[in-house]
Each structure stands twice: as structure tokens, then as C-alpha cells.
Amino acid sequence: MSEQIVIVGFGPVAARLVDELLPALRAGQVGLTVIGQETEAAYNRVLVADLGVGRTTPEALALADAAALVADGVDVRLGVKVRRVDRARQSVILSDGTSAHYDRLVFATGSRPVIPNLTGLNPDPAAPVLPPGVTALRDLRDAEVLRRAVAGRKRVVVLGGGVLGLETALAAAEEGATVTVVHNGPHPLGRNIDRGGGAVLAASLRSCGVRVAGNARSTGVEHNGPDGGFSALLLDDGSAIDGDLLVLSCGVRPRIELAEGCGLSTGAGILVDHRLRAHHEPHIFAIGDCAEVRCPDPACTECRTARGPSGLVGPGWRQAEWLAEYLVLLSEGSVEDADSLPPLPQEKPGVIVLKARGMNMAVAGDNSAEPWDEEVLTAGAVNGRPRLQIAQWADPEHGRYVKMTTRGGVLEGLVSVGMPRTAGELVQLFERGAELPADRSLLLRLDGPDQLASAGASNDPESTVCRCAGVSGGKIADAAAGGCSTVAEVSAATRAGTGCGGCHEDIRGLIEKHFQGAAA
């Protein structure tokens, strides 16, 4: 009989796992059940803010098609919750009273927004009920709330200076809303960015029409709007920021209650080893936002530096791809055989690229060290390991800032604001762990104007004017001296200009030059 795989959760990471398992499902090797709490199949949550400002449609966000999956033989259950997991019987019990048996259970329950502790907000993390005019912008309904506010050109207050908050703020401002970002600390993005980058970023946000209220500590919300809706965010200095909609963007927290309820080990997320297995439970796995890779071995060096769940979708997708391969191997035979699959490589620190139309920013890794900070730069340089090196470029007047933190020529941190080509290059260098060119300024010139002079500008008679026929300026000048006074005549004599014809202007120039010289 085929092995039964049950996936709890139907977000982007679960959708990828399902996609990757489809070939084995079609081959009859595994059976598959997916349980989603929302009534929609997986959609791309990364783009919910875009949907909220009317830049895309719900249809375009789809990552899975429930009907097509059912046709493929997947047991898709939408709009139901898993009440509990019966590990002894290897069964999940659902809110609609049904149950499902599993051989392998995968938690892909994702995360939920952090609701800050403010007066006037219900802070129950398990069942957040937000008052009218307040949204955490997580699902399609939240997007609809934002869309109405933006369409009505309302005042939107975004609480939180993380990347999602900034993206929402920029998109809403560009689409016509009046937006204020409220964050603590001196600049947005907190410790992901350094001081210089943060300052240029804040200035760029302002120039894109976003009000930025920094070093702000919020204490409560005021509900004096129509129908008791949100009217202002209250700060600890006694001031208030008026608005029609409050968007909470204060980070996410892994959804682990179900796992805790069935006795699995949890930290920030569900604890899994390097094969994504729950601790001491060979039948249960976790991937994506709800999973925390930290193996039970206290001596594991990889786990010593491991971070909690990143909240980014990329690592979750890589886990889904890897786990699908592993689950298929497990369904084929023994655990020993399956374990011949090399474990999932450790994730690099996440790259944050601001999704916005009007401005460009990318940060990654650790950017805390400053160029003159000898102590910090040499701290890790032991046993022949090179010290950190910093290269930096700041041009706040034009909204440009770049910082490259490297060790042995390889990026450990990067900040790029306002330089799209540089950002693109640095990010992929970081992702590949590739060495930077020794001349770092090379990376700063990518956004400059094209350096290439157009052909024919050179006065060197040896330089090629007609590439197609391989004719030099000197030969053309000779032809002119020999009596050729039109491009056609030069072409007949030298073949110059007989291919693509792109050099006709240059030939004309050389003829004119000859006859001017003759006249003078």
C-alpha cells in the first residue's frame, strides 16, 4: 500500500511540497492529504500588500489549484482546522469531526502576525480579533481592507519599520494614500541595516512621500472613527498619529500550538533536525515558518550558529523541495537508504530586497561593523582566518549608499540603497559566496552611464570602422584620397559599410574630413 502523507497547512511552502510530491502521487507511490484552514488553496502571501494597493488580482496570486489537485488524487480539505494530533494512532482529528491517518505528517502551519501589546487591542495571540480599522495584512481579507483604504485615498498608519511594513507603506503612498510609518529605533529596518544605510533609506522613504516617525514607542490605539473604528495611534510621548487605517507590521510568530499540544519539542518554532524531522518522532516533520532547524545534538556546530525561522519564503521552499525527495525515498524503502540523501545545507542569513517601484534597497547578513572599528573587524580573525574588511560609499544627496562587509573577499554583509545594478550584483555574489573583485569600486560603477564610446570616435587610423567587413579608418581615408567621394564609392572600393550599414555615418565623416583637409 502506498504511504500516506498528511500536510497540515496549505500556504506557499505546503504548495511547493505538494507540487514536488505529485509525480510520486501519480505513480501511486504515496497518498497525499492537505489540510488548509483558509477556504482558498495556497496563494502567494508575499504579494498580499500588492493586492492590498490594487496592483494585482487574487487570481494572479494562486500557487495551487485545488480542483486540479483533487483530479490528481490529492485529498484536499479546505476551511477546516486540525483539532489535535493523535501520535499513538498516527491520526489527525479535524474540526469538522473527520480524521485522517498518516504514515508521515508534515507541519507547514506557517506563522501568524505579532499583535503588539497596546491599549485598545485584543492581545490574545491564539485568537486575535482586531477592532475595525486595524489589520495585520496577512490574508486575502486583510488585503481587501487595505484596498478600500487606498482606493478611498485614506490616511494609513503603518506600525513597524520592517521590510514588509516599508513595502506596504511605499505601495500605498504611491497608489495615493497618505502614509505614516511608525517605528522604534533611529532608522527603519532595525539591526538589518547599518546607521548610514538606515539614514539614506529613511530619507529615500520621505522623498517617496512616506512620513517616517522614528524613535517612536506606541502605547495604544484610539477608536473614534465611524462605527468605532481606528482613529489614531497613541505614542508614549503623549502625541498621537491620526489615521483611518492602522496596519500592524510587527513581525510574525511561528504557529506551534498544535505541535505543542501533541507533545513535540518546540523553541521559537517546532524543533527539527537536519532532515527536518521533529525531535524523537520519526513520523513527523516540519517546514517553513513554523519550523526551527536545531538538532538534538548539543555538540552540533551548525546548530550553534543557527537562527530561528527566518520568516522568508525562500528557505521554506528549499526545505519543501528537499523534504519531498526525502519522503519519496522513505516511501521506497528503509530509513537507512533514505538517509543516503545528503541533508539540507544550512541556510545563509536571509537577503532582504525591498519590493518597491520607486526605490531600490537590498541588505543581507551582518552589517554592524564600521570601517574604523578595529576591535570588531579583527575579533573573528583567529587561526589564520582573515579579518573583516569594509568598503563603503555614501552619497546621501542622491540617495545612494553601499557597504560591503567581506571576509577573505567574500561578502558577510551588504547594504545597497538607491543603486539597482549594484544591488543585483551584490546580492547574487552574496548568495553564491563568490569572491568580490579586488577593486571594489567596479561594483559601484554599474549604475553609471555607459562607458562605451561609439565606434568611429577614435582617430586611430588602425581602429576598425566597419566591423562587418573589417575595414579600418585608414583604409577608408585612403579610398577617399583615391577619389571616392560618396559612401557608395567607398563601399565599392573597400567593402566598408556593406554589412549592417551601421558605419555609414562614420564613413561619411571620414570622407568629409578628407575633403575639408584638402580644401584647407
Binding site: N44, T56, D65, V427, Q428, A434, C468, R495, T498, G501
Partner: protein, 733 residues
């Protein structure tokens, strides 16, 4: 006899129109030849004078290759008699009777010992339609083998497979080239037309003036440089990430509502699945993978969409994105993008692939592919087999089934169940195949190798028998250019006394092998048979004849008898049964892990390969043209100054580029036109400069296309061994 003839260039698929005149005829016109006779010692005078001829594709233009093409006709290195290699390894001339006798014996021996499939045929995209057609027939009926494939597998197979899958039909450009003149936006991926087919560039002037020329290339190639000064945008992705980039552009088209919803509804299927498949590729994520800034990805999508509403938008792909193990999927991603925008089958927009070889289009239609019969028919289709059996007047059971695609065919050389006796036509596989060292080992393990060529190419040098054949100016026939337009090749000069047409060779051998059906040595007779064979097939030529072509008619296939041909395809419907185009969701596959670097002094880099303006394919012809060789006498590895500096490599220094398959040693050319982690090698040179010693014979699962354009190499300053230039070793010196 010497006469003047209107014909087309012997080299690439642009097939520039040219006129060949005898020197006597030239003198009468009073024109001065470009190079005064006497400036180069041999040959004393060109056999013919070449001039450009006005034609919609080249508009009178020719590149250096075309201009100098006639110098090969009386080249001193030309093979003009059958050459047989004795036990001492030395070639000696033999008579045609003896040569054909030896081939017949070798074929019969192999068949008797190992079965019919031990005889193989490797064809080429340079053969005329007549020769390509007859070669497929000869292999299947006279040799009785299924083992035939051709070098087009290395060029067009990925785009062809993607075109078939999406449109139900593959014609490189399903519109005339002139259509590009008025386009507002052209997205060109992985093609360097400024070097590979310079006269093509005339058709890009309009789009450059409109600022809408977008080039995707990891190098700032001569073509990419056209985007400067307001001509457009150059996107410079990491090698091997083109597919991801295309998914990113499609993502923007969908999410910014730039798509043509009415067209998608009416003319395509598979839209929803494509929406889901590109959803995960938002521009910022694509930027992290490709290095292309998110804003430029958006800009590209917007320009394609706005161009479609103005003068038209075109998406064109070339080998740079197709010659990969995911080449079919990459071409499919480009087609999906074009379908989202409503480009294919419209009156002023479209998708196309730029065919490379002279008859790369016709060569893939008439039965030299392992899986196809003439007229672009599937060899496994019972109706197609029945049709061909009728045309050939043989029982259907006599037609073998599908053979092996090129890379697998070459891997089988000399193997126990593999090919033991091989025919090679119009192809220099010892230089042009992936993992060329392994191919050369395969050639040396054969029982018998017969190569038809007019020069002692690197492949011919490995042969037991070399049969001298005709050059373009010495023969009649037809070729099909990159637009799917059928052109006449015309004879201008008598061939050397000892050279023969391949049609003649096949006819004589078929006779000796007592083959069923008929084999003519007259091109027009063969074309008449090709018409019948192609009738009712996808590539239908049945309405075309020599008289019509000679009258100057523009004949674009499909051209069924009684029709007027098809300059622009798919206007009413696509070629699938329901008339709709099929969108197939595609995604990047995970890459294999490269072998660990054994040489700590070397730096791991990515190798990409391509062409130089002066040379064509393996260089077997162009390296023998003194003017071209003088201009580009050797391979140079292009490397970024920043990368070079870190390895102590200076301009002109000797560089070793190696991996587990082989090593290339050549001089460095420092250039900021290339990305710092990538090196570029031209593939026109042999031996120690042969780029294909490094390329991998891994293939695309759908098309069989090898991985030419994304190979891991280790680069270092070469030891102080002097580099011998090809100039000194070739017979041109």
C-alpha cells in the same frame, strides 16, 4: 564553363543574397575588386567575384565571411580526389570506383557482423534540402539503419521542441524578417547577431531608434552594445539563469495586468497553470538569482506590453538560452511570455528563434533527425510511415523506427551495441561536439569512418576515407532560410574534376547496396520527390517548384499545392488540433554539483562559448580564408580585468581553462564586456584551443540538446609553454 549566378551565401541561416561573377565578366563592369590581385600569393586570383545582391533579408549587405567566400573554391588545401588512409596512417588518392567499393564492403561487413544499426549517419544543417532529404532516405532504406541524426541537434533542437509543444509547428521565424523593421520593442535573448549575421542588424535600426531594443546576454556583446545611447536595455544575467529571468518578466506581465486577456482566452490553453508557476518569481527574488535589477525586469515587461500596442513587440531567442540542459524549457518560458502578451499569430508581433546554420531550417524538416520523417513528420506516427512508404514505394516495415539523438549517437561510437561504421556529412564533429575529446576517442574506435568534405577537416583527418564533395558555387539546390523562405542555390562554376555531389555518391552507393526505391543525382528530381514526401506534413513544400523559385517568388512554407505559401504563420489558428497555442508551465531544475577543483592555483569560473564575426561553426572553412584567419588567427579567452588581475593574467598572457573533461590553453583577451565570474571562448578552433573539449555532453531530456553554454571550469595562468598559433600550423601559411 564559367557563368554569373544569383545565389546565396554559403554560410549562415540569413542566407544573404549574392551574385557570383567570373573575373572576365567583372572586368566588363569596370568595378575594382576590393583586394588587388597579387596582394596575397595563393591563390593567384579568386575563382569568382562576389557581390551583395538586393534582397529583403540582407538588402545588398554581406559580411567578411560572405565577401571572402569564393577564395575557398580553388584553395590549395581542397580535397579533389577520394583519399584513403593506409595502414601507415597516410592518406593516398584512390579512384572513385575503389572508394565506393570500400564503402560498400565496410557497410556490408558491419551489417553482417553487428546488424544494420551498427552503421550510422551524421548529417549537417549546411546540406541543401535535396541532400538532407536524400540522406535520410539513404540511411533508412539503403543502409537500413535507424542511426541517423545531425549537428542541428546541437543548434535548433531545443527551440524546435518548444515551438512544437506550444504551436504544434516549428518554423524559426514565423514571420518575414522585414517585420522587425517597424517593431517598437524587441527582446533578444542569447543571440549576438552583430557578429553572427551582421546584415541582420539593418532590421534593428527602427527599434533602436524607438529605444526598444532589449538584449539579454551575460556579455556586453557587439549586439548588446546597440542598447547604449538610448537604444534600449542590456540585461546581463548570470549564465544559466535565463529561465528564471523569463519567469520574472512573465510574473510582472501577470501581476501588473499587462497581459492580453482576450487573446489568452481565445487563442491559448494552460494559462492558469502558468500563472501559478510564475507566481513564485517576483522581480526581487529573480534579482537575487540572476543579478538583474528588479526594476529592469519590470521595465522589460512594460516595454514589451506597450510595444505590442504600438508598432509591435517581438521576442527572439538564440543559442545562448537554448543550448542548455533546460533549453527546451527556457525557450518555452520565452514562448509563454509571448503568449501572455498576445504576440504570436498577430499581424505585427511575434516570437521567433534565430536559426544558425545555412540550412538549419530546411535541414530539420526533411528526415535527417533521428525521430523524424520528411515534412517534419514523426517517425513513430503510423500515418506518416504509411505516407512515406507510399512515396518511396516500399513496404512500411522497411522504414526503421526512431534512432538516437546526436549526443547519444556519438557516445555509442565503437561501443559493443553502438555504431561501428559512420558516415559524416557537412559536419566537423571532432571540433563542434560537446566533450570533443570523447568524440575523437569514439571516432578512433570505429571500424570504418567515411567523411564527405571538401577540406581535410579535423573530422576528415580521423577518417579511413574522405570523399571530396562540391562547394556551394558548384551546385544547384534549395535551402530554407531563417524565415522559412525557400531559396535557390545556383551553380556559377564547374567543380574540380574529382569532386562529386553527395547526391551522386548516395545514388551510386544505393545501387551498389541494391537498395529499394530510387536515388537521383539531379537536385531538381530530388526536389520533386521531396515535394511529394512533404505534402500534407507540417513543413509542406508541395506547392513549390524550381521554376517558381527561379521566377523570384517569395516561397514561405507551409506551401501546400494550390496555395500561395505562408509568410506570416498562425494568423488564424495554431497548428494543434483545437487551433490553440499551449502554454506549458516550466521551472528551473536544480543544478548538478560540479566536480571539486583539483588545482588550488586555479580559480573556478563559468565558461560560455560563442562565435566571432570572422569565423563560422568549427572554422573548417573560415580558418582557411587567409583574410579571416589573419584577422582572428587563434582562440582568445575573454576574461574580465578584475578577475584576470587576481590571477596575474595580463592581456595576451597564456591561460589554461580546464575541467574534468579536458584543457584549453590559449591567450587571454581582457575585456570589461564580460561578467567577472565568467569566461568566454569562441568554438571555431581545434586541438588545444578547442572550446568543446570543456563542454559537457549532458543533454536536455526533451530535445537532446547538450549543455554548451554553462560549464564549470578552472582558470589559471598557463605554465610558460609557448602557444603555437593556428596561423603557423595551418596550411594557409
Amino acid at each position: 564553363m564559367t557563368k554569373s549566378a544569383d545565389t546565396h551565401c554559403p554560410y549562415c541561416a540569413l542566407q544573404c543574397a549574392m551574385t557570383l561573377k567570373s573575373p572576365a565578366a567583372t572586368a566588363a563592369t569596370g568595378l575594382t575588386p576590393a583586394d588587388q590581385p597579387g596582394s596575397s600569393p595563393v591563390p593567384a586570383a579568386p575563382a569568382l567575384e562576389v557581390s551583395g545582391r538586393d534582397f529583403p533579408t540582407n538588402r545588398g549587405g554581406l559580411c567578411r565571411k560572405g565577401w571572402t567566400s569564393a577564395s575557398l573554391l580553388q584553395h590549395p588545401g581542397r580535397v579533389t580526389e577520394p583519399m584513403f588512409k593506409g595502414p601507415d596512417g597516410v592518406f593516398r588518392p584512390i579512384s572513385w570506383d575503389e572508394a565506393l567499393g570500400r564503402v560498400t564492403t565496410a557497410v556490408k561487413d558491419a551489417r553482417a557482423k553487428y546488424g544494420a544499426d551498427s552503421v550510422g549517419v551524421f548529417g549537417g544543417g549546411g546540406l541543401t534540402n535535396e541532400k538532407a532529404y536524400q540522406l535520410g532516405k539513404f540511411a533508412r532504406l539503403a543502409l537500413g539503419t535507424s542511426r541517423i541524426d545531425y549537428n542541428g541537434r546541437f543548434c535548433m533542437s531545443s527551440a524546435a521542441a518548444a515551438g512544437m509543444r506550444a504551436f504544434g509547428l516549428d518554423r524559426g521565424l514565423p514571420f518575414p524578417l522585414e517585420a522587425l523593421d517597424t517593431a517598437s520593442t524587441i527582446l533578444m535573448l542569447g543571440s549576438n547577431v552583430a557578429e553572427t549575421m551582421p546584415p541582420f542588424v539593418q532590421h534593428l535600426q527602427g527599434v533602436r531608434d524607438a529605444g526598444g531594443f532589449i538584449v539579454v546576454d551575460p556579455r556586453r556583446s557587439a549586439t548588446a552594445a546597440f542598447t547604449s545611447d538610448g537604444g534600449g536595455i542590456h540585461l546581463q544575467p548570470l549564465p544559466g539563469t535565463d529561465l528564471t529571468l523569463l519567469l520574472g518578466i512573465s510574473h510582472v506581465v501577470i501581476h501588473e495586468g499587462l497581459l492580453d486577456a482576450e487573446y489568452i482566452q481565445a487563442r491559448t490553453t494552460g494559462f492558469d497553470a502558468v500563472v501559478r508557476s510564475v507566481n513564485a518569481y517576483w522581480p526581487e527574488r529573480v534579482q537575487s538569482i540572476t543579478g538583474v535589477p528588479a526594476e529592469l525586469i519590470r521595465e522589460t515587461a512594460r516595454r514589451l506590453a506597450s510595444g505590442a500596442r504600438r508598432g509591435g513587440s517581438y521576442i527572439l531567442t538564440g543559442r545562448g538560452v537554448e543550448q542548455h540542459v533546460d533549453g527546451t524549457d527556457t525557450a518555452t518560458a520565452a514562448i509563454n511570455l509571448s503568449l501572455l502578451l498576445g504576440l504570436p499569430g498577430s499581424t505585427r508581433s511575434g516570437y521567433g528563434t534565430l536559426t544558425g546554420q545555412g540550412n538549419g531550417q530546411g535541414g530539420r524538416e526533411h528526415g535527417q533527425k533521428a525521430d523524424q520523417l520528411p515534412g517534419y513528420r514523426k517517425i513513430t506516427d503510423p500515418a506518416a510511415r504509411a505516407h512515406m512508404a507510399k512515396v518511396w514505394n516500399v513496404p512500411e516495415s522497411l522504414i526503421p523506427g526512431p534512432g538516437l539523438p546526436a549526443v547519444q549517437l556519438l557516445k555509442s561510437l565503437g561501443q559493443p551495441d553502438g555504431v561501428r561504421c559512420l558516415f559524416v556529412h557537412a559536419s566537423n564533429i571532432a571540433v563542434a561536439s560537446p566533450d570533443a575529446n570523447a568524440v575523437i576517442r569514439g571516432l578512433r574506435s570505429l571500424d570504418f569512418l567515411v567523411v564527405c568534405d571538401f577540406f581535410m577537416s579535423e573530422t576528415a583527418a580521423e577518417a579511413d576515407l574522405v570523399l571530396p564533395v562540391l562547394q556551394w558555387a558548384e551546385e544547384e539546390g534549395t535551402l530554407t532560410n531563417l524565415e522559412g523562405r525557400v531559396l535557390r542555390r545556383r551553380q556559377a562554376i564547374q567543380p574540380p574534376a574529382g569532386a562529386r555531389s553527395e547526391l551522386w555518391i548516395m545514388a551510386r552507393l544505393a545501387e551498389a547496396l541494391e537498395a529499394p526505391s530510387t536515388y537521383s543525382d539531379d537536385p531538381e528530381t530530388v526536389f520533386e520527390e521531396l515535394r511529394l514526401a512533404s505534402a500534407g506534413g507540417a513543413a509542406d513544400y508541395s506547392g513549390i517548384d524550381y521554376a517558381m523559385l527561379d521566377s523570384g517568388a517569395a516561397a514561405y512554407w507551409p506551401y501546400p499545392a494550390g496555395s500561395t505559401g505562408t509568410p506570416r504563420m498562425f494568423l488564424e489558428a495554431f497548428a494543434h488540433a483545437d487551433g490553440k497555442a499551449v502554454m506549458t508551465p516550466v521551472a528551473p531544475r536544480r543544478r548538478r554539483t560540479p566536480v571539486a577543483n583539483p588545482d588550488p592555483a586555479a580559480k573556478p569560473m563559468t565558461l560560455i562559448t560563442g562565435r566571432l564575426l570572422e569565423h563560422y561553426q568549427s572554422g573548417a572553412q573560415t580558418r582557411r580564408v587567409a583574410e579571416l584567419l589573419a584577422s582572428r588567427p587563434e582562440a582568445r579567452v575573454q576574461i574580465h580585468p578584475a578577475a584576470a588581475a587576481a590571477m596575474g593574467i595580463t592581456d595576451g598572457a597564456g591561460v589554461s581553462v580546464a575541467n574534468e573533461r579536458g584543457e584549453v590553453v590559449c591567450r587571454a583577451e581582457l575585456s570589461t564586456a564580460i561578467r567577472p565570474e565568467t569566461v568566454f571562448l569562441p568554438f571555431h578552433f581545434p586541438e588545444l584551443e578547442s572550446a568543446n573539449r570543456l563542454t559537457e555532453a549532458a543533454t536536455d531530456p526533451i530535445s537532446g540538446m547538450p549543455e554548451f553554454k554553462f560549464n564549470k571550469v578552472w582558470v589559471r595562468l598557463a605554465a610558460a609553454t609557448p602557444i603555437t598559433s593556428v596561423l603557423q600550423t595551418s596550411e594557409a601559411s
